[in-house]
Symmetry: C2
Subunit: 398 residues, 2 copies
């Protein structure tokens, strides 16, 4: 059955007078989330106390919630676990992958990757102190740099600034052809379009749940390990909840079955309840429908902006197949324009040096929202309203 997006829109709390084009940073509040969290706190924590770990199923949540995420990213059920943060999950995936390629020393990434991924890789390399190299190339050069020196690629599928999307299938195949492994960061993919981890043969994938998935600020990260690898991965962050028998309190670590081993410490059950409320909405969504609407919305935005605001230069790929679910424009005064937009209720964001970015999220945005946003943007651009903002910013700084 076709997804009904006018119905899903009603399931979110969208503040009056706001056009929210920043769901790629932080998704909005699902209407049932606070109630679901309150219920968990009062009926489970409040009444069951410590017994909630078994009686309310808290202990099993990282895997059961992981299964709900797995469907959205084309992963095998039982092979995604939710917890910690995306940065921690990057570290886990990279550390495991490097050990699986002990004769290789290169982590290959690109300059379009989100900095935290590069930082975590840097930190790991310094700790290992074994001559590894983080090789960062331009995004368009990544394919040709996948050589047999590469132990693992660390690639964010969608560029957080431009929305440019890598070809996961092709790059994974290239990596496998030279014996390299892949870690895919799905921060701007999960909930943005259909991801097909199984079909692409991805080795590891990681992501967060507070952007397109709408789990709330700081909602947990997730990690996927391909079934063919998981029993051969050693968890570098070997916490007790990844142990084969956490409640045996054995003195030595023994990795748990399958993806369970990628659990570390005690996960936030409160955060998990909010994420579950968000995933209830996702249960109503077909990812192919979502992608179709996302392309319609972003194409409408590009066409309208280019017609009305010729000073803005498209920073995202024009071909929808080459984009995630955001659209970015270059403009010299982009920072001030974004401030002017935000003060008028259109929320996007700015990334240095000159990128204004706008996220398109069919779950709660429709054509009218996009056109209303364009109208305000046009007003700001045609009236050069950023001038006043820049004056204010300078006045504040000096």
């Amino acid at each position: 059955m076709k997804t009904n997006f006018s119905e899903t829109k009603k399931l979110f709390n969208l503040p009056e007078g706001i056009i929210y084009l920043d769901g790629n940073s932080l998704g909005p509040l699902p209407k049932t989330a606070a109630q679901k969290v309150t219920q968990m706190m009062e009926s489970e924590w409040g009444e069951m106390l410590i017994t909630g770990w078994n009686n309310a199923g808290w202990m099993h949540q990282p895997v059961s919630v992981g299964d709900r995420v797995a469907r959205l990213i084309g992963a095998e059920p039982g092979h995604v676990v939710v917890g910690d943060t995306l940065s921690i999950k990057v570290y886990q995936a990279l550390a495991s992958a490097l050990e699986m390629r002990p004769d290789r020393r290169v982590i290959l990434s690109d300059s379009g990757n989100f900095p935290s991924d590069l930082y975590m890789a840097e930190g790991l390399i310094k700790s290992l102190n074994a001559g590894h190299e983080l090789r960062v190339v331009a995004p368009e050069d990544i394919a040709e740099n996948i050589t047999d020196e590469v132990a693992v690629t660390l690639i964010t599928e969608v560029d957080y600034r431009t929305g440019r999307r890598h070809d996961m299938g092709k790059l994974t195949a290239k990596a496998h052809a030279v014996g390299a492994l892949t870690v895919w960061d799905l921060a701007h993919s999960a909930g943005a379009f259909e991801v097909d981890l199984m079909g692409c043969g991805a080795d590891f994938a990681v992501g967060c749940t507070y952007k397109y998935l709408n789990g709330g600020p700081g909602s947990p990260g997730f990690i996927y390990v391909a079934p063919r690898h998981v029993e051969h991965t050693r968890p570098a962050l070997s916490g007790w909840l990844g142990h084969a028998a956490p409640f045996a309190f054995e003195p030595s670590y023994a990795a748990g079955d399958g993806i369970e081993r990628m659990r570390v410490g005690t996960p936030s059950v409160i955060a998990m309840a909010s994420l579950e409320a968000a995933l209830d909405i996702w249960d109503r969504v077909e990812m192919t429908d979502l992608r179709e609407r996302s392309i319609e919305l972003s194409t409408l935005f590009i066409e309208t902006v280019e017609k009305n605001c010729p000073m803005l230069k498209l920073a995202s790929p024009r071909d929808p197949a080459g984009r995630g679910s955001q659209v970015s424009f270059h403009f010299e005064h982009g920072y001030a324009v974004m401030q002017a937009l935000i003060s008028r209720g259109v929320i996007g964001d700015f990334r240095a040096p000159d990128i204004m970015r706008f996220g398109f999220t069919p779950l709660y945005l429709d054509d009218d929202d996009v056109l209303a946003g364009c109208e305000i943007l046009t007003e700001v651009m045609q009236g050069k309203l950023w001038d006043r903002v820049e004056f204010k910013i300078k006045a504040r700084v000096t």
Copy 2:
């Protein structure tokens, strides 16, 4: 002003008919917590959306909440940061400490440590692959094993099974005398009694907030680094929120100022709101008063149990100075006794092979609770009610 514990007790949701002696595993629900979380979700996340990171102060929370914890553990303000889980914080502290002692190879711990700490150390050692050794000795032998081979001690101050408390001041001094560093795990200390990190000269400390601090299931961990060290520590888990300028999105990592560098990824703001509600209660508490009441309650428990249930053998130190805020007893049929107790509304827990443990938390327990718990325990022991439970357990297994 003397802490008013009959007032603090009213601030918790305590289920009717339950005597909760397991606050050392998971503290109960503060009455304002659900409301505080709802308010954060609806007024901050719901209304401010992405701008909440600045406008609602979410970005600064790990340090501002850290300051509230700092007071309870005798740490300098501005030197505790909240986030991730205790296991992750153990990893961070250990990794930093080992790098500060590059010529030494021993991590010294004891068999009374919580297994996750040992597991995290094991995992780190394997990753470093540099000949480190995790040396685990009996708790009573720890002092004499602090030699100049030791890079860092990894000690949980209070044994999770027996409640035995190490002398933090003495052991830290011993470590420093031989040039070793200390990582103190305060899982069963923070909120259990006065901790004096500054006075003891501790180097690193870590802990969780879901036990005595009552932050809720999976409430975040925390880490302390002594001011004299923090600028010299390299964060092994070098995530973007520990970067000197997270929003500059620079390609290379540069550690943030002071304790900020121990932040990693995006923290759960929802979990933090619940923890803040719990800390509101702690603001009314003087730690010296708490300790005094804790000793009164646990002494009353020991005396009553020993009088009425001679089959139970005290597993905790008899001297209150040598204990945390829990009391444990050995009994062959301890598991079945604990099941019988729980079915009668007295919640403690069991740790293999034969330990029944009971936590004493003056914030919401008084003499009447302790005596009522003792009465039920006496009933179970004198009536040998565990026999029936053991029969049921066996029947279920076969």
